[in-house]
Every structure is written in structure tokens, then in C-alpha cells.
């Protein structure tokens, strides 16, 4: 029986714990101190952790079940919209038009009553459930249809991309009732705590870290379970697994749905920290970027996916600020580098540098 927490995961979780404890403490230090962390960095770090969680979600279905989804950004955005809708409702009468019932953009569009799909989002628990349920349901239905018809590999990638593209177009429409082009923004507070207060920000950051750790443990638990073994078998030899009597589509739908719900959770945590959600999150390019995080870190490692996300996003922040023209070159180069030279990502590189005992390196075909 494989241990739930192996060395890598243990190290990562320990590091995550350390950062989660130390970063909030560092903001309380006097600003003259060298160790002082400006408090505006806390939501930024929270955002990074959301991306890491998203990468873990994708790694669960790509790395272990071989389902390369190019539409995970859609699940992320749907989770984000669910949370954004709650935050919109919580603005209440403090909006520009001071309408206690309708968000500003609806008043602006001349709507007189709340569309039915906005009902219930004034309750936090409802929004939180929806942030998981909506992406989960979409993934379940989509996956059920796709896997039952044995759509796999590249075909699946292309139709997931089409899915997020269709959602992108749909959410851009004003009459969809999700704020159109501008999306949802101008949030004030969550559960009565002001979103701009440092304490709320720290709480959200800690919550994100806990969610990340929890999801990594869950994903790890799934992958070391018997179902996880079957998933790897599906990834490596789908027909053979089927011949052995396993219901391949059930396992695939299960892992796809769990993965989508994790992505939705990441989106729901992302929105209050970033303060906006707009249809741009559905862009197919965003979803493909998630793939490079996972690929860079190392597919099928979970820890690698999280590290890959943190590295690439940090690189992006730095490059877009200092050399904006170089970012796409770097990202494009990264894609090529990873596929040509680092098929197992950074963690795979680590394994190759320090060959441990006689254990053969896990081979991860596409």
C-alpha cells in the first residue's frame, strides 16, 4: 500500500504550511523591516495558489487518466461566476444605482427583475454549492456523453476547447445576464467582511492554502486507490482495460467530474481575491496555458503541477511587467521546450538527476 503522503507531497505541504503561517505574520512587521511583506501581496499569493489548485485539478485528469482537457478554464470560470454572483448580490443597495435587488449592470440594461438563475445566490452556502455543482454537472454530462461514445485523445481535447469557446461567446452576450463583456466586479464584502480589509485578505489566502492542501490530499487519495490504478491503466491502454472488464467510461467520468469541481473551487476562491470575473477567463488560450503549467511541473505528479503553475505564473508576472513583448516568446518557448526536452517536466528532470535506487522512472505517455 502506497503511503498517502510521500516525501514529495510531504515537503510541498510543509512548505505550503510554512508560507501560510509566515506570510500573514510578515505583513504585521513594521515596514522598515527587511522581512516585511506589503499586504497587497497577500491576494496576489492567494491568486497564485488558486492557479496551483487549478493545475492540480487538471493533472488529476490529464496526468492520471490521460484526459487532456483544453477546457478546464471553463470550469474554473464557472466556479468564479457562481461566487461572483453571490458577491454581486451582497453589494445590495450600495451599487451605483442603489437597487437593493438588481446588480448595477442589470439596472443599466433596463431589467426590472432578477432572472431566475440568479435566485438563491444571495445566500453564501447556495453560491458555494453552486460553484462546485455547476462545473461538476457540466463535466458529468459532457464527460458522460463523450466517454460513452469513446471520444478520447485529441478529439476530446478539441471538443473541450470548442466547449470553452462556446461558453466564451455566450458569456460575452449582454442578454445572458452575467454582465456581458465587463463581467462581474465592484465587489464589497463577503459574509459581512470587507474584501479590502487586510484581515479578510489573509483569511482568504489561508483558506486557499487549506483548499489546495485538501485537494492535493484528495487527489493523492484517489490516485493511490484502486480506482486510481484503473485510471492509470485507462491512460496507458484504454482498450486493454476495457477488455479486462472495467467500465472505462465510469472511471473517466468520475475523475473528470472531480477534476472539474476542483477547478470550480479554485475559481470560487480566485474571484474574491482578484475582485473581478469576466468572460475572458473562458478564452481557449487560458485553458491551454493551464496545460503548460502541468506539463512543465511534471504530469501525473500532482506536486509538480502545483509547482509548475507557481513557476510559470511568477514568470508571467515578472515578464509582463518588465519585458511585456517577451512574455509570449517565453511561453511559446516553454511549450516547445517542455514537449521536446522535458517530457516528464521539472520533477522528471529531478528524478533523472538523482536516480534513486533501481526504481524505473514512471513513464507517462500522452
Amino acid at each position: 500500500m502506497t503511503r498517502l503522503i510521500d516525501l514529495r507531497l510531504g515537503l510541498f505541504l510543509a512548505a505550503l504550511f510554512a508560507v501560510t503561517v509566515l506570510a500573514p505574520l510578515a505583513t504585521t512587521l513594521p515596514s522598515t523591516s527587511a522581512l516585511n511583506l506589503p499586504s497587497y501581496l497577500i491576494p496576489l499569493m492567494g491568486k497564485y495558489l488558486c492557479y496551483a489548485l487549478l493545475a492540480v485539478a487538471l493533472d488529476l485528469c490529464w496526468g492520471y487518466a490521460g484526459i487532456l482537457s483544453l477546457g478546464h478554464g471553463a470550469f474554473f470560470a464557472l466556479g468564479g461566476y457562481a461566487m461572483g454572483m453571490h458577491l454581486m448580490r451582497e453589494i445590495g443597495a450600495r451599487g451605483v444605482y442603489a437597487n437593493p435587488e438588481l446588480p448595477d449592470f442589470m439596472v443599466f440594461l433596463g431589467w426590472t427583475e432578477l432572472p431566475w438563475f440568479w435566485y438563491g445566490f444571495d445566500m453564501f452556502w447556495f453560491a458555494a454549492v453552486m460553484a462546485l455543482l455547476v462545473p461538476g454537472l457540466l463535466a458529468f454530462v459532457f464527460g458522460w456523453f463523450a466517454f460513452r461514445s469513446r471520444v478520447s485523445g485529441v478529439y476530446l481535447s478539441i471538443i473541450t476547447q470548442a466547449l470553452t469557446f462556446a461558453l466564451l461567446l455566450a458569456f460575452f452576450r449582454n442578454d445572458m445576464g452575467f454582465g456581458g463583456n465587463n463581467g462581474l466586479t465592484d465587489f464589497r464584502d463577503v459574509l459581512g467582511f470587507s474584501l479590502s480589509a487586510p484581515s479578510t485578505r489573509i483569511a482568504l489566502f489561508v483558506l486557499t492554502a487549506v483548499a489546495l492542501a485538501g485537494c492535493m490530499l484528495l487527489a493523492r487519495a484517489i490516485t493511490i486507490s484502486k480506482a486510481g490504478k484503473v485510471l492509470v491503466a485507462v491512460r496507458d491502454a484504454e482498450s486493454r482495460t476495457r477488455f479486462l472488464g472495467y467500465r472505462v467510461e465510469s472511471y473517466s467520468v468520475f475523475v473528470f467530474t472531480v477534476s472539474a469541481m476542483m477547478a470550480g473551487l479554485a475559481g470560487a476562491l480566485y474571484v474574491p481575491q482578484v475582485g473581478i470575473i469576466n468572460p475572458g477567463e473562458f478564452a481557449p488560450a487560458n485553458s491551454i496555458e493551464i496545460v503548460v503549467w502541468v506539463a512543465l511541473g511534471g504530469r501525473g505528479t500532482l506536486v509538480g503541477a502545483a509547482i509548475g503553475a507557481l513557476v510559470v505564473v511568477a514568470l508571467k508576472s515578472w515578464l509582463t511587467a518588465t519585458f511585456p513583448d517577451l512574455w509570449l516568446f517565453a511561453l511559446g518557448g516553454l511549450f516547445i521546450l517542455v514537449t521536446l526536452a522535458l517530457p516528464n517536466g521539472l520533477l522528471g528532470l529531478l528524478d533523472r538527476l538523482k536516480p534513486r535506487q533501481a526504481k524505473p522512472a514512471a513513464e507517462v505517455p500522452a
Binding site: Y155, A166, I288
Partner: protein
Amino acid sequence: MPFRPLTLIAAFCLAVVLPFLASAQTLEDLIARLPDGNFNDRAAIVAQIAETGDPRAAQVLDALLEGELEQRSADGRFVRVTGSRNNQTATDVLTGEDLGPVARRSTEAVRVNNALRRSIRTALGVLTLMDPDPARRLAAAEAALRSPSPDQVEALAEAMAAEANATIRIAQTRAHAAAVLASDLPLQAKLDAVAVIGEANAQVVQQTLNAYRNAAEPELAAAVGAALAEAESRQRMWSQAQNLWFGLSLGSVLLLAAIGLAITFGVMGVINLAHGELVMLGAYTTYTVQQIIRTNAPEYFGYSLAIAIPLAFLLVGAVGVLIERGIVRHLYGRPLETLLGTWGVSLILQQAVRSIYGPTNREVGTPDWMSGAWQIGELTLTGPRIAIVIFSLAVFFGLLLLMKYSAFGLQMRAVTQNRPMAANLGIRTGYVDALTFGLGAGIAGLAGVALSQIDNVSPNLGQGYIIDSFLVVVFGGVGNLWGTFAAALSLGVANKFLEPWAGAVLGKIVILVFIILFIQKRPRGLFPQRGRAAEG
């Protein structure tokens, strides 16, 4: 004012056509009599002015209509006074000579009332209806059709009788019919008029006849109703034809964008996400060629596309060969990695173009021979769209022939069907791979040249086509060029037929969802390849 021979001829023609004009007085005499008498006398003079056929008559009547025709007290000269109350300037109404500022009390206006204004408008209508310039005659007839007035019945009848140009005569006939409808002529004349108008295009029929839908005479109302219904059904038919045409046009754009992909993805099985960027490179090649021609030899601008087409094919094809040799070659058999690697290429190409040409849209011109539009019934076909439909068909069939009848096509099919066997038979498979990928890329470049004519040339050009192209190829059935053809055209047409009732964006979403569902039902597309190899 110089006396132009053309005016002379025109005046002469009018004199021949309307013999009674010969006895009319000169324009100067008539104007001189304007201030005398009452409004009725003036109306008579206005009619006579129109009958002189003098080319200056229009400007005189126009000034009179605007109430700007005044007579200078000092010398009795007729001037047109314009400007505000305290800052008036005068021009000679006959010669147009600028007479500078005038004092307010130094001129006496020729007064007009509403009845007189109506007469003037009629007279002006007659004047322009008989204008020597055919374009102005046509415009006048069309204007008369748009706002029919019973006063114009006779003028239009005269103009019709005198008209030699068939197109203008038809316009005048319709305007006449519209005027008859507006008049109190007997019922039979009106029924004839309805019949005449019924032959016009649907829009005109509706504009003109809608007002008489509930005419007092039951026969007239019935005739109008029938004509309107007929026009409506005709319009519906034409709008279907219009949709079909737009659909074919969109379909051929999709076809162009997808053909290259049908080779790289369909035949070779390589997922090339940089395909859209290769299309974009083709468009920028066109732009660059045009820039060079514009600055160096503008007189050859008409040939710019003829130069850009082979150049784009070769250039983009070369980029394709580079991509294949550099990246794709190492990833055969690993489709998901290929997908990621080519996505990286697409990002780099996008940013490279953005760095070189800037992020904004670039202007690509349309050569004169291609611009313009043709009218078939109530359908307008624009030049670039026709050219793209023809071009995409040419590219498609050219490719089909190449695949089927050339040695290279044969080798290509051999390598994709059974690589080891092809290699055993002495085919250099690596070489064929590179050329096949280059061919697909080159065709993407051709698509770029064509798309530069109808789309914005910007670094994001390719992004808009990549998903559509993949869906077309997958929908049609991978590895099947005819499937791609059928898929592109049917998706294009379906999209345009959905648009009227669903809106452009929703129509597109419906199509996307349809394809997603379709692929779930038939994962191998419309026309799947049969046989053992198809299972992969």
C-alpha cells in the same frame, strides 16, 4: 457663363422633343415678370420657366423655392441672397457671379406661398426629369417614386414618352404608376398602376403600395393586397437565396482555412495548433507585397494578389517545413505533445508578427478588378466574396488532383497508410513528411491571402479560425478531403440560416454545441474512413 456646346445640344434636343418650347420666351424675360402679379400668375410663370428647358432654370427655381430670390432695387438684377439677417451676401441667380455683401433694404424678395411652393417643386421635378444628364434623370425618377405626387403624373408621362434609355424609362414608368395611385384618376388606371409596380423589386412594392392596402375601392385594395403578398413571397425567396449565398461564402472561407488542416491533421494526423498563425502569415505576406508595390510601383497594384499568392504559398510552406523538421518530427505518435508544441509555435509567431508589424490592424487593399458588386435579381454579390468562393474551390480541386494524380500525392498517401512498407519501397518518408506538412502550411498561406481581402489583418487573425477549422475537419471525418468540403459548406450555410432567428453569436454557439454533440454521436465524423486502419 460660357456657353457650352453640350448645353446647346441638350437645349436643341428638348426643343425637338417638345416643339411648343420653340415659341417660349427666354429665361431672362420670364424672371423679369416674376415679381408682378399675384401668386397664381407666378405659378404660371414658374411652369413656363420649367418649359424653357434652360439649364439655369433649376437654380432659379431652387432659389425661389427657398425664398432667397430677390431683386436688387438699384439695377433690377435678380440675385440669390444668403446668410444671416445682418450679414447677407448676394450671387447673381443666373450666372452664379458673387456680388458680395448686400444691405438688407437694398433688395426686394419675390414672395412665395405654399401653393406656389408646390408648383415650384413640380416644375423642378419636371426639369430634372428631363435633364440632359441620364444619371440625374434616373435619380429624379427614383426620387419621384419615393415620394409620389399627383402633380407629377403628366410630367412623368411626358418624360416616359421622351426617354430613350430603357433603365430610366422603367424607373419613370414606376414613378408614374406611383403618382397615378396618389392621384384621383379612374380606378382602371390605378389597377394598371398596381400591376406596373408589382413588377418592381419587393422593397419598392412594399414602400409604394403599403399605403393603399386599405384603399376605398375594394378592387384596388384586393389588387394591392395580392401584389404585396406576391412581393413578400418573392422577397422571402430572395432572402433564402441571399442566406444561401452568404452561407456558401462563409463555407468557402471555412473550407480555405480548413483545407490545409485537412492535410496536416487529416492526412498526417498531426495536430497543428499553429495553423491559424500560418494563415495569418499569409495575410501579412499579402500586406507586405502590397506595401512594396505601393511605394515602388503603384501602377502594378492590380497584380499584387497575383504576386502574393505564389509568394505566400512558398514562404508559409517553408515555415511549415521548418516547423516539421524542428519540432513536429520529434513528436510523431504523441499527438497531445504535438498539440502543445505547435501551440507554442503559434504563440511565438503571433508575438513575432506583433513585434514586427505592430498590434493594430493593417490595411490590405482590394485590386480594382476585384472590387465592385453584381446584382442578380434582388441579390448583391460583392467582388471579393465571389473571388474567394472561386479561389477556395480552385484550391480544393487543385489539391484533390495533386493527391490523386501526382507522384508526390501517391507517395504521401503511401507514407500515411503504411510507413514501413513505403520506406521499404524506397520512398524517403522523412522527406515526404516534411513536404506534406509544408503543403498544408502553404495552403494555409493561400487562405491567408484570401482572408486578407475580407477580414482584419492583425496578429490575432489566426485565432479566429483555428477552432472553426478543427471542427470542420473533425466534423467532416478526419482523413477525408471530400468530408472537409461537405462539412465546411454545410456548416457555413447552416450558420447563415441560423443567424436571422438566433443572432450571429447565438447561431455560432448553436453550431458549436451541435458539433460537440455530433462528435459524441459519431466520433469519426460525417464520412469516417472505413477499414482496420481507421481505429488507430
